[in-house]
Each structure stands twice: as C-alpha cells, then as structure tokens.
C-alpha cells in the first residue's frame, strides 16, 4: 500500500504556499509574525503562534519536498535537502558541515535522536552565560510537551548491528550506555532518515508543526532566501527575500517583501548570524556570529566477522555518555558516543584514501561499523570555536579554529572508540585519519593513535550540530539575545533556533531546540497580547 503523502493532501485541501522559483512578478506578503527558517525552531514557533491566533508566514530558503519525493538515493537527497548542496564546510575546507535546507529544515534529514538538554549544560549556562529562567526544572515541562507532540520515545526495537557495537562494547567494559529516544511514529526501521523519511514516520516539522500552521491559515513561502532585514531605528520594518531557482542555487531575480508586526529568525547556526551580518543589524559589542560551536565529530571504523549492514535500520538507537562529563562540565574536552548510518557515497569519503586502499575498505562495507564522538565544544575557555563571516556574495561561512585543547579531545575520543570497538569483537579498527590503516589489536591501536599527527585535513572531521553564534544571555556585551530570545538591540525581533545556545549542548540538539523555542513562543504570545 502506498504511503499517503500528507503534505500533498493538505495542499489539495487549500493550504496557502508560495513557490519563490515560480513567481511571475515581485510579491509583498503581510503577516502578524514572519519567521525565517522552517526547521526545529521555526516550525515549532509557527505552530504555537498560529494556534494562538496570529497569522504566521514561514519563509524557507530550500525546496518543498515531501514523502513521495524521498527516494532513498544519496545523490538526489544530498543535492536537494542539504545546505549548499551538501558542500557546506568550515572556511578552511577541513570540516564537513551537514545542515538541512528544505521545508522542515534539518528535522527533515536528521537521524531522529531526541535528547533533553543535559542538566549540567543548563546549569553551566546559568552560571557562566547569564542565562535566566531555563534551569533543568524550568525546562522539563517544555521538553515533556514537545516529546508528546513529536512522539519522542526510547527506541523499542532492538538496535541494528552498527548500534549494537556500542552496547556490547560498553557492556564488556562496564561503561554506561543507553537507548536513544527517537521522534517517530510507526517507524519502518529502514535507515534512511538522512535522506528524508519516505513513510512520514519521522515526526519532522514537515509532517507536524508546519501542517498545523497551514491548517490555521498560516502561509509558507519556499525557495526564497531572506536576504536582509529592513531596519527602521530600533525596529525591523520588513524582510527582503530573493526568489531562487528550482535547484535552490541562484537568485532568479524575483523579490518578495515581507511585512509583519514581529519577526523571528530561525535559520539555525551560521545562517541566522549571516542574516544579521548582511542586514548590518546593530551589534555594538560585535557578538553576532561569535562563539559558534559544532559538536565537532571524529570517527573510528571497525571491521567485524559478522554482518553489520550499517546502511539498514534506525540509524541511531544506542549512545554512551560514559565520557561526556568525565572531567566535569568545563574540564577537558569530553564527548558523547554514537554511530552514523553508512550509505556508500558518504562512507567512501569517510573511510578516506582512494584507489586500492579505499576500494579494500569499501569492499568490507557490510562488515563495517563506524563510531563517532560528539565533542562538547564551548565549555572551556581553550575550546575551539567558530566565527561566522560573510563571503563576497554575502553568503555566510564559518571560520572554526582548532586548538590544542580540542585536539586532545579528538585523540582521547579515538582511544575510547577503538577500545569499545575491540571490546565488541572487532577484528580490526581504523581511526579515520589519513595516516592510519586498520590495526588488529587494542595495543596496536593505542600506539597508532598516540602517534597520529592531529592536523586539519589529515583528521577526518565533521559536524551535524551547528550551535551558537547568536547566544542568549542577560548581558548584551556577551549575548545577541536575552534569555527569552529577544534581540538585545532590535525591539520586534526574536531568535528562535539553535544559534541561541551559548555553548554546544552535549546531545543531538533537536529536542533542545523544540523545548526552548516552544517556551519562547508561548512567552511571545503573552507579550504580543490579544490578536
């Protein structure tokens, strides 16, 4: 039985949408609230504000793709659903950055892991970054609301063999592990969350909050880039948007002017500070784009005798926080351990090298596990951090500078991953670094890892969790927004996305963004008063 395309049905019922690639003339759109970005922050805000009776306009740079478009093919999915056609990387080209860019934002392509913001992170923000009112007890009800809304529950099905490596390795070593909560309903356990869910099981913004907003009479403008905020003193007076071609690459010459009473930026890390910088928004303390964090990721591959088939099954279902807080929240750089799904195209670039070396590694794909470490950057003054800049054409790029402190975390993470992989029965382990080959014992791995020159380009690094860059906090000298997401300088502008986080958070960020922006949106409804 074919999967019903919920979004296509809604459109047939009369949902109001505007396709920026097909406009016959320039357009002016008006709403009570204009929201830039349709991911976790924008989608959640849109649902809550439209339910309160406000007319919402949701603006998305990417295309509208729905379940019937999702063919589980890497080439097509990466080119159409990811920022810069999956080409996004740090300014030096050494760190691959995966962020969604389509209606639904990154929620459309994430791997469904849904964690509450860890309590030590919330406490650290209160203590070090003057964040008020978002302690663990104050946030708990908001996480609960969003968990219910999006079907978040620990994955009840046995993990696939790729995830099982974490469980069995940690069990042998006496390390802590746990089951990952996922935002799915009726999941088929296919493994293609990163290419758009073909069965609408993933409770992304595309099938939850955005339909709810459209049902309330809200409007969606897609394939339109919010180019700049129009400013009038300390107020935003409009947003100038550019229509894009169908590939979402080049402006097509059409302009859309958006007028609203209140404006919300929810383009995520890198893009939200990018709009502020392009708009020359007042920024007396030069905070926009500073302190951008990545949850920098390094990887370790392992070959097993048994079949792993790491391309099938829920991509992430087991994690280990054994090392996450091992030196306190602000001690040495520590990490959360998870696995990525391994489809051939992305895996070929992860495994590294070329020719025979790469071919031999790829030949073993069905027997290969890859583990990853999410390095909790931003808690220690010596941590690597990034700064968003504008390129010649006004597009944002992240200049992320590594430090010795951060490289030390990378090296320890290589050790931890190899140890767990061997404990789980790996025949051979490969830290993903240009100078490493597969080694057959933990002792060999330890010698290899200790000797690796940890440098950009030689070390395979990535990120799927851009956070920060428009930090919240009560001190305008440190933060772009206050703790309620209100821009410190512009009266009718809020930021509702992961760029608010003063540090990385130590967990996959979607539920943190849902919970926080749900709370900020409810407070905004109260401030804006009766419709």
């Amino acid at each position: 039985m074919p999967v019903p395309d919920l979004f296509a049905e809604g459109l047939a019922r009369g949902w109001k949408t505007h396709n920026g690639s097909r406009l016959e003339h320039d357009l002016t759109l008006e709403a009570d609230i204009a929201i830039v970005g349709s991911g976790a922050g924008g989608g959640t805000s849109a649902e809550i504000l439209s339910a309160a009776g406000f007319k919402v306009l949701l603006i998305e740079e990417g295309p509208l793709k729905t379940s019937s478009d999702f063919k589980m093919q890497e080439a097509q999915a990466y080119a159409s659903l990811y920022q810069e056609g999956i080409g996004r990387m740090s300014k030096d080209g050494a760190i691959t950055i995966l962020q969604g860019r389509a209606v639904g934002g990154t929620t459309l392509v994430n791997w469904t892991s849904s964690f509450r913001t860890p309590a030590p992170t919330l406490e650290h923000w209160a203590k070090e970054h003057a964040v008020e009112g978002h302690g663990p007890a104050e946030m708990a009800p908001w996480f609960e609301v969003m968990e219910k809304r999006l079907g978040v529950a620990p994955w009840a099905v046995p993990p696939n063999a790729n995830n099982e490596v974490i469980r069995s390795g940690c069990d042998k070593l006496g390390y802590a592990w746990n089951v990952i909560p996922r935002n799915v309903r009726g999941c088929w356990n296919l493994g293609y969350c990163g290419m758009g869910c073909p069965t609408n099981a993933k409770q992304s913004m595309l099938v939850t909050s955005i339909p709810a907003m459209l049902d309330q009479g809200g409007e969606l403008l897609y394939l339109a880039r919010a180019e700049r905020l129009l400013l009038d003193g300390d107020q935003v007076s409009g947003i100038e948007c550019l229509g894009l071609d169908e590939r979402c690459v080049a402006p097509n010459g059409r302009r859309i002017t958006v007028k609203a009473r209140h404006y919300i930026l929810a383009g995520g890390g890198i893009n939200t500070p990018g709009i502020l910088l392009r708009s020359k928004a007042p920024d007396p303390h030069q905070r926009a784009g500073k302190r951008t964090f990545l949850h920098l990721v390094n990887f370790s591959a392992a070959q097993f005798e048994q079949l792993i088939n790491p391309f099938y099954g829920a991509p992430q279902s087991i994690y280990s926080d054994h090392f996450q807080w091992d030196d306190g929240p602000a001690g040495r750089l520590s990490y959360k351990l998870e696995v990525p799904p391994l489809h051939p195209a992305l895996t070929a670039t992860l495994l590294g090298r070329f020719g025979i070396d790469n071919a031999l590694r790829m030949e073993q794909l069905p027997h290969t596990n890859v583990m990853l470490a999410l390095l909790r950057d931003g808690f220690h003054p010596d941590s690597a951090e990034g700064r968003v800049e504008l390129r010649g054409d006004g597009s944002p790029v992240l200049d992320y500078r590594m430090t010795d402190y951060s490289w030390d975390g990378v090296r320890r993470a290589f050790h931890s991953m190899a140890e767990i992989q061997f404990a789980a029965g790996a025949k051979a382990v490969l830290p993903l670094h240009a100078d490493a080959g597969y080694v057959k014992s933990l002792a060999e791995a330890r010698r290899l890892i200790d000797a690796l020159p940890l440098e950009l380009y030689r070390t395979r690094l990535g990120s799927a969790h851009v956070m920060g860059g428009c930090a919240m906090g009560e001190d305008p000298r440190q933060a772009v927004c206050d703790s309620l997401g209100r821009h410190h300088q512009l009266g009718n502008l809020s930021i509702h996305d992961g760029s608010l986080f003063p540090t990385s958070i130590g967990a996959n960020p979607q539920l943190s963004i849902y919970g926080l922006t749900a709370k900020l949106s409810a407070k905004l409804v109260k401030r804006l008063g009766k419709v």
Binding site: V3, K71, M72, Q73, E74, A75, Y78, A79, S80, Q83, E84, G85, I86, G87, R88, D92, G93, A94, T96, W188, L190, Y192, P198, T199, R247, C248, V249, A250, F311, Y312, H343, P344, A345, L346, T347, A348, T349, G352, R353, F354, G355, I356, D357, N358, A359, L360, M362, E363, L365, P366, R391, G392, D393, S395, V397, A434, L456, Y457, R458
Partner: protein
C-alpha cells in the same frame, strides 16, 4: 620549466585573470605571472551543466586512479563516464561560492602555467600516468600550502561521492540498495 608544447587548455588570458583569489594564491605561491595566449572562453562541455572541456583531461586522468580496485578494468570507461555525470550533477547544486572555488581549482589544474609547478605534472594530463597522478595527490596532501591540502580533500570527496552514489558501484561494496516502500 614550463611546458609550452602542450595543446592550449582552452582558457583565455581574460579567463585566467578571472581565476580569482584561489588562483591568485596558487599563482603567487608558485611565483608566476600569467601570460597565456588567447583562446576562446571555456563553456560547459556538451552534455554537462558545469564541467568544461578544459576540465575533462584532468578528470579523465584522475578518476581512473581514484577508482582503481573498485571497478574491473573492462568497466572503467563506463565508470569514468558515470562518475563525470554524477560529479556534474553535484557541482550544479553547489552554492555559487563553493562552485567558484571548485572551478578555480579546476582552472589551476588545467592551465599549464599553474599545473606544472603546483602538481609536478609537466606534460598534459592526457599523457600523465597513474603514477604521475598519485604523486600529484600525495604532493598536495602533504603540501605546506593549506589551499593545496584543501584541493586534495575536495577532489577525493567529489570523486568518491560521485562514484558511490551510483547503483553500478554498489556490487563492489556489498550494498543491495534501498528497500522498496
């Protein structure tokens, strides 16, 4: 030593001047000045949206080296053609700034004046052996110039992703393909 006997790369002086920041950095680092004879500006090759005739010689030398061991020799010509098709699709969806950087990278590899000093391949790419290509890649990977390391990483990622996104590559890596929904 600059090889002046090879066929023109299909790039005009005017085009060279547009090579821009990356190209300028390459040129500066090689201590060279541009003095190419005029040829017609380079357009996408027929059948491609982005890849130009001037890019093909290099890519046809590079791709077989990248795919060695993953493709039986008798299937290599089709694999190269397929990889080029997928690569063109990817390039056509990159952001304009990233595409610009990639095109500059290809220019630097195509122009004899930059190719020789920077890659160590002094003759044309058509005549480069697999060993020449491997030496060039190793040289860039271990270069002290960040841009060359970045170029090396980009080439590996672009080519490997392009090939392994294609169904005909999957038998080698034991991937049965996506399930039916």
């Amino acid at each position: 030593m600059i090889d002046t006997t090879v066929a023109p790369a299909g790039l005009s002086r005017r085009h060279l001047l547009k090579v821009g920041l990356l190209g300028s950095a390459f040129l500066a680092s090689a201590g060279l000045t541009a003095s190419l004879s005029g040829c017609s500006a380079s357009m996408p090759q027929a059948g491609f949206a982005v890849i130009r005739e001037s890019d093909l010689a290099f890519l046809r030398a590079l791709i077989p080296v990248m795919l060695e061991g993953a493709v039986p020799p008798e299937k290599l010509p089709q694999a190269v053609a397929g990889t080029l098709e997928s690569l063109d699709y990817s390039l056509n969806h990159l952001s304009p700034e990233l595409l610009k950087l990639t095109v500059q990278l290809f220019d630097v590899l195509a122009l004899p004046i930059t190719r020789g000093p920077l890659t160590g391949v002094w003759g044309s790419w058509e005549n480069a052996s697999a060993a020449d290509v491997r030496r060039f890649l190793e040289r860039w990977q271990n270069s002290w110039i960040g841009l060359l390391k970045m170029g090396h990483a980009s080439l590996l990622q672009l080519v490997m992703m392009s090939w392994y996104s294609r169904a005909e590559s999957w038998a080698h890596c034991g991937y049965p393909g996506p399930p039916t929904v």
